[in-house]
Symmetry: C2
Subunit: 332 residues, 2 copies
């Protein structure tokens, strides 16, 4: 049998489509008798309102799309969980799609916001240029999470990456390291900020970077190993390495250890994110904890405001507090 419609329900219940619709939408202006008849017909016909028809009429979908380079990142999945929980409270469904960092694919997904497939967009790791995000956010509801482009129109939520990198580098220095290296990721906006924090901490202590290496492609365990191998093959050898993520730090620890050096006695290693990798590593990683779940919640609040408010909406960025987690991979 074909899908039931309001018409069918109305006929079966012996009322008008208007009444059916009112019951569906919980309008108070319906008699208990009608309500019961409609409820019965709905059950009997196994009726569900068709989303596209409802969306067309209401001019909104109650759906939100999140875009991320990959779904694998613990920070992203945790932030998205926080976002989704907050969204659910307001009746929104949140979906996520990976872009693989591919601009074309990202554009295709962003078009879902442009063509009204979704009411709002969350961008975790945009491939598009800052100016394009700016233009998009000028007209539609967009919020940036974790990675924030400079933008007048879009709102973003993250930690203060520069400060966090400053904090953890200061920790490295305060525990006696003097020859500091960094393995970073300039491809990510947050990566540049972490580099800044690293440099600033060194400058404070009148030190200069012993080595600075940046990933070309992926920023993962293998990249961490490869870059560390490169780093260890050059003089001067560092006595501490700050890595832009825990996964990279895990690769780093592995190579340092395989080279017959001890962590942290010979070389201290610091990560970033406080993901499960930090605990799986031996020794466990000193790292920066991001309040990812809470960041997601805050991001939804901002997006909701953007979606519902008529005129002005929140702009700029919101920084949530991070925390230095000291473990065995650094002295101290």
């Amino acid at each position: 049998m074909a899908r039931a419609t309001v018409q069918d329900v109305a006929k079966t219940a012996g009322v008008s489509v208007g009444t059916v619709s009112r019951v569906l939408n919980g309008s108070p202006a319906v008699s208990a008798a009608s309500k019961a008849k409609v409820a019965g017909a709905i059950r009997k016909l196994n009726y569900r309102p068709l989303a596209s028809a409802r969306d067309l009429r209401r001019d909104r979908t109650m759906r939100i799309l999140a875009l991320a380079k990959n779904l694998n990142s613990p920070i992203i999945s945790e932030a998205f969980r926080g976002f989704g929980d907050a969204a659910a409270v307001s009746g929104y469904v949140s979906l996520i799609a990976p872009t693989s960092g591919d601009l074309e694919r990202e554009q295709q997904l962003v078009n879902m916001l442009r063509n009204g497939s979704v009411d709002g967009l969350v961008m975790f790791s945009p491939a598009m240029a800052d100016a394009d995000i700016e233009a998009l956010a000028g007209q539609l509801s967009v919020v940036q999470l974790c990675e924030i482009a400079e933008s007048e129109s879009a709102f973003g939520v993250s930690i203060d990456d520069r400060q966090a990198a400053l904090d953890i580098t200061r920790h490295l220095i305060s525990t006696g390291s003097r020859r500091l290296a960094m393995i970073g990721n300039r491809a990510a906006r947050s990566g540049s900020l972490r580099e800044e924090g690293f440099r600033r901490a060194l400058a404070e202590a009148d030190l200069s970077p012993t080595q600075l290496l940046f990933a070309e492609g992926e920023f993962d365990f293998h990249a961490g190993r490869r870059l560390t191998r490169e780093l260890l093959s050059r003089a001067p050898l560092p006595d501490a390495i700050f890595c832009g993520s825990d996964t990279v730090a895990a690769g780093c620890v592995r190579e340092v250890t395989d080279a017959g050096l001890r962590v942290p006695e010979d070389i201290a290693v610091a990560g970033f994110d406080d993901s499960i990798q930090a605990e799986m590593c031996v020794p466990e990683l000193t790292t920066i904890r991001q309040p990812a779940y809470e960041m997601g919640r805050v991001a939804f609040d901002a997006l909701l405001a953007r979606m519902t408010e008529r005129g002005e909406h929140r702009r700029g960025r919101s920084f949530l507090p991070h925390k230095l987690i000291v473990r065995g991979s650094t002295k101290g």
Copy 2:
């Protein structure tokens, strides 16, 4: 300014809405002149067809929803990537949403299929009962991936979990282990199959399980540590432990090592999935590789058939070949 419609485009281009629609949908029956005029108007007005109106008319959305307990699993994200790539070729967009294993949340998302928000559904780790999946798949387009419920109506893609567990347990036995333990997960359908394979391999060799432990809640690194601790506190001690996932195996290796025992000399450890965790572990894990990306592609083919074919569609399940990966965590 308000959103432009086909009407606006038609007026601006000086043609009828029919012509605009034909251009939009690439109909060949349009003169080059009209096509150019419409294209110009579309650009000028920055027009995008409204998804809900188009979906309503066409009675399909070209969207597919995938449901998973969490997005964090390497197997799931890789399988979803394969699925998404295949879907994109056919013009479908695939989105994914986490359920956290919560039945109510899963139902809410499944309703997106029922109400036509999406054309098809992929289930990675269903919380709902097999009978409910059966009923759902009887009417709508559903495919199961990795975790497959027994079902007449739904199609599913996975590896042969029982055979894979049999293979890896045989490897453990063939490399000299005689007192085998397992840390498994009865909550997952695949977990039970892996247990069966484990038991069968032991039976073949006239052995019986030394210990069998099952996770209560999460099946993760911490659970792996906890269960291994429990396992090591009891006699008799095993000389090999088969874990239902690499992450759990990593926790297992950690506890065995911390207890002053050597892997694999005192206790061999085997994982499952060949995720990056298997390589991050020291020693690296012997494990089972799943062709996750390819599984996703096959799943899409099946779902597409289900969505487009009129009558009968593929049923049952498709098993893709797994592979035993031998590394340092087992003797051999």
